[in-house]
């Protein structure tokens, strides 16, 4: 039973710090733009305000439009359960990488279905961009996971995590590539095309309001935390003592999010076809690394 309790404790802790990490990001971004910036807990204030508001529905809506935010939130919770965060214990089983990719894809697919069925044309454009981007980034995700699987001869997150010890070229390359893909997946600036604010008025989230918008934003922050934890645990060596892991994990989490924000503040937004071209150029690189990993250099 203790095992389940720790897993739930992990999830609750992650739920708490996700908006705070986003608050830190907004603060750092403001500093880089010579602004004072909102307080760190600002994201929490926004979420609470959104949760209080009732959500407004268009006449064209259908049931999917209402239930999809909650299923996405559940997907993210389940994904977080799979990944070790504050403690090393996590819910991983053989082949849970594939379940992870499925959860991420199904969450973006449900988001697309939900926003299309809101009937708004901007939501439809945002959703079509989102679907195009997800299919390609899923290919990249699949390739990186294949590289990890080939490196560690297993499909289980547990065995996979400290991928560094054999300091081979392909291990380091795969971590860097996974960081890039995490950047694309978490809709950081050059790739925040589905919610391109000035062009299609927040694309996907245009018709969501009140509580459902709050939950969608919350699951987006959780998704970012998910990717950060995977990257952090790829590097974190296994030997460090039990007590130190949560502190070290938190520090590296914040460091990683700050580096991502620094990159983000100095990039303009790419058009959808430019973004797709960029992701397509990544595919051959990944194949090359896969082959190198196969011969385990």
């Amino acid at each position: 039973m203790l095992y389940l309790v720790t897993v739930f404790a992990n999830i609750v802790a992650l739920l708490a710090i996700a908006p705070i990490i986003d608050g830190i990001e907004r603060k750092v971004k403001a500093k880089l733009q010579c602004r004072k910036g909102p307080p760190i807990l600002q994201t929490w204030y926004d979420l609470i305000k959104l949760f209080k508001r009732p959500s407004i529905v268009t006449e064209e809506y259908s049931i999917v439009y209402i239930i999809s935010p909650y299923i996405i939130f559940a997907n993210m919770l389940f994904a977080l359960a799979l990944v070790p965060s504050f403690t090393r214990i996590s819910l991983s089983f053989f082949g849970d990488i594939i379940v992870l990719t499925y959860l991420i894809t199904s969450s973006s697919i449900l988001l697309a279905i939900g926003s299309i069925s809101s009937g708004n044309v901007f939501a439809a454009i945002g959703a079509s961009r989102e679907l195009s981007l997800t299919t390609l980034s899923k290919l990249l995700m699949a390739l990186t996971l294949a590289i990890f699987a080939v490196l560690k001869r297993s499909l289980m997150l547990e065995t996979l995590f400290p991928i560094i010890p054999p300091y081979t070229l392909s291990a380091i390359a795969s971590i860097i590539l996974f960081a890039i893909i995490a950047y694309i997946e978490s809709y950081k600036l050059p790739f925040d095309i589905p919610e391109a604010e000035p062009e299609i008025i927040d694309g996907i989230l245009v018709e969501y309001s009140g509580k459902s918008l709050g939950i969608l934003k919350y699951s987006m922050y959780l998704k970012r935390i998910l990717f950060f934890t995977i990257i952090v645990y790829l590097i974190l060596p296994r030997e460090i003592p039990m007590l130190l892991t949560p502190v070290l994990y938190l520090i590296s989490l914040i460091a990683l999010s700050v580096t991502y924000v620094c990159i983000e503040t100095y990039c303009g937004r790419l058009r959808i076809d430019q973004a797709l071209k960029f992701t397509k150029t990544l595919v051959p690189i990944l194949l090359v690394v896969l082959i190198i990993a196969y011969f385990n250099y």
Partner: protein
């Protein structure tokens, strides 16, 4: 009486066909649907008996010996019929899908009341079911080919059922020619087997006795035979080079027939693949590579073209090709992994074998449900064009929920059945670190595209606002609704409790799979089946997943939830419902644009192999026709040959 029960479904169907062909009006349809429903129930009963209680049904049907004895040296009077585990598995699929589509047909076919002769439909439909059943069940190579041919003929009539539409006639003609060509190849290989190997004895067991060790004695002949048989059956299974007939044929047939076509008919060739590679010949490494590669190409081509389509049934037809790719890829990888021989690969080989069969069943279920829902949309609106349709969820709530279930299982979202079989395919191919790992990754990517066009199918039909005035559309009548619910229920049950289908598959694997029962390698949990590997942690993930979903939905329900309606936001201008919504064609325009090279090569190949080939073929036949008509040239040619023969004989 017991030993004739195996033939009961066929007998009932033939009876139904004869009676229904006499009535032109609704009665024709009712009779044939009634008879086919009874026979499908019998089929399900038979196959479950075999699979779960491993009863064996075996018959020897003695025909009137007079006709056949004298003419041909082969004693055709005896038809061996046996339902062994493999054929029982496929008969079960035929039974369930047949049951659903016949009940569906009761009210759907009345749509053609004044346009077509319903009795003709009844006759063909019943015969089509009967021959498919016999194809699965017969254990005699000669009679197999006979029933295979008859099945193609009857399905060809069903495809061109709406005679007045030129498109339907052309599609049926194309389908008939291609499958006729394929069966020529099969007949040639069957003749070779009969003449050289089994000395005119046509039953499968005797053939198996000879062919089992053929690979070792005479590898060239064995490989030639496998190649011929593989090519012959791959046309019917619509694998890549021969898939062009399917996207034209399936949409033209009435929806419940196209459900049967996609759900079961293309599975007959999968049944024969299993027969060839496991029953007659031994699995070999290089055949594993070939089959896996063809499977991957098929799933890539099928899915990439499915995303382009704007016609509901054409999209589903292309997706069938894609899913067939998955099945053949899994089969190929099981062949390869088994024949690699290493200890660690046997686990993966058995999982791949199970995955392939499991995906056959899943695909039959959700694809036929998708075709039935497309049919109910056509029944109500008469339209197949996705650009125009939309916003039907409000008018047809039940159908929209059922389509949601079907498209989510097609996309492979966890709680539904598509996920488990695809999950088994990946977990058997990716960790194998052979070329299969790359194929597995490509399959993973392609499954994202499948999810994409599943979204496209569901949203354009039901949730996206329509671009035309959709008049008062009611939901579908009861029989159609019942069949859809039946299939949807099966989709969910197969998804949540994989134990049921896996038991069936283990029975099949005991019979023909060299590694014996697959349960020694798979640990089954509700919702997911895991490989028995050393460090599998004891918890069952799905329960926790379901727990989390429950918690979040409870939290959501707890918070006050007031839904007040407001008009769609369109920047302050009055929202014009019909003008301002996105058409299906422009759904994945950026994605399709970014894969332009892929489609260009597709178009190029199509031009070279199909268009030019047909042009040359026609010009060649014209020339040939001219020569043969001209008497003088014929005469000179004939004399020349005779002289040549004489010279040879003398020399």
């Amino acid at each position: 009486m017991a030993e004739y029960v195996a033939l009961a479904p066929a007998a009932v169907l033939i009876l139904g066909a004869i009676i229904s062909s006499m009535f032109k009006g609704k009665l024709g349809n009712y009779i044939s649907s009634f008879f086919s429903t009874i026979s499908s129930i019998i089929m399900c009963y038979l196959s479950l008996n075999v699979l779960l209680f491993n009863k064996v049904f075996e018959e020897k049907l003695r025909l009137i010996s007079g006709i056949t004895e004298s003419v041909l040296p082969i004693n055709l009077s005896v038809i061996y019929i046996r339902i062994d585990f493999l054929s029982a598995f496929f008969v079960f699929i035929l039974g369930t899908v047949g049951l659903a589509s016949s009940i569906y047909g009761i009210s759907y076919i009345n749509r053609y009341l004044h346009k077509q002769h319903l009795g003709f439909y009844g006759l063909n439909y019943a015969l089509f079911l009967c021959f498919m059943y016999l194809v699965f069940v017969v254990h005699d190579i000669f009679w197999f080919i006979v029933f295979w041919e008859l099945m193609t003929v009857t399905s060809q009539f069903l495809v061109s059922y709406e005679r007045e539409k030129a498109v339907a006639r052309k599609a049926a003609y194309k389908y008939f020619c291609m499958s006729k060509g394929a069966t020529e190849v099969i007949i040639v290989s069957a003749l070779i087997i009969l003449i050289i190997l089994s000395g005119m004895n046509t039953s499968f067991d005797t053939i198996r006795y000879y062919t089992k060790s053929l690979l070792v004695e005479n590898p060239i002949l064995a490989n030639a035979l496998i190649a011929l048989l593989f090519i012959g059956f791959s046309v019917k299974a619509s694998l890549v080079p021969f898939h062009t007939w399917l996207p034209d044929a399936h949409p033209e047939a009435p929806s419940n027939v196209s459900a049967l076509l996609s759900g079961v008919m293309i599975k007959t060739s999968v049944y024969m693949f299993f027969r060839i590679f496991y029953f007659f010949f031994e699995p070999t490494v290089y055949w594993g590579y070939i089959v896996a590669t063809i499977g991957t190409i098929t799933l890539l081509v099928g899915t990439m073209y499915a995303i382009l389509q704007n016609d509901s049934k054409r999209l589903l037809a292309f997706s069938s090709i894609g899913q067939m790719g998955y099945i053949v890829f899994a089969l190929g990888s099981s062949l390869l992994l088994y024949s690699m021989g290493e200890k660690s690969y046997t686990v993966l080989a058995s999982v791949a074998f199970a995955a392939s069969l499991y995906h056959v069943m899943n695909h039959a279920m959700f694809k036929s449900l998708l075709f039935l829902t497309a049919g109910s949309v056509i029944y109500r609106t008469g339209l197949r064009n996705l650009n125009v349709l939309g916003g039907l969820a409000r008018f047809m709530p039940f159908t929209s929920i059922l389509t949601l279930i079907a498209s989510l299982s097609l996309a492979g979202i966890p709680p539904f059945n598509g996920f488990v079989s695809k999950w088994l395919i990946y977990s058997s191919t990716i960790p194998s670190f052979t070329i299969l790992a790359v194929y597995g990754v490509v399959a993973l990517f392609v499954s994202a595209i499948t999810a994409a066009y599943a979204v496209k199918y569901f949203t354009t039909l039901f949730t996206k606002p329509a671009t035309i005035e959709v008049e008062k559309v009611k939901d579908v009548p009861l029989p159609m609704m019942f069949s859809q619910i039946l299939l949807a229920a099966l989709c969910i049950i197969l998804g949540i409790y994989p134990a049921i289908p896996l038991n069936m598959i283990s029975a099949v694997s005991k019979a023909i799979f060299p590694l014996g029962n697959i349960f020694s390698y798979i640990q089954v949990f509700p919702g997911i089946a895991l490989l028995k590997v050393e460090f599998v942690s004891a918890n069952s993930p799905l329960i926790i997943a379901v727990g989390l979903i429950l918690i979040s939905s409870v939290v959501a329900a707890a918070l006050p939830h007031k839904l007040n309606k407001f008009s769609v936001w369109s920047c302050g201008v009055p929202f014009r419902k019909y003008a301002m919504n996105m058409s299906a064609a422009s759904y994945f325009r950026p994605f399709i644009r970014s894969f332009d090279e892929f489609y260009l090569t597709g178009r190029l190949l199509h031009k070279i192999f199909v268009k030019d080939f047909i042009k040359k073929y026609f010009s060649f036949t014209k020339v040939l026709a001219k020569i043969t008509e001209n008497f003088v040239i014929m005469l000179t040619l004939f004399t020349l040959i005779v002289i040549l023969m004489l010279l040879l004989y003398v020399g």
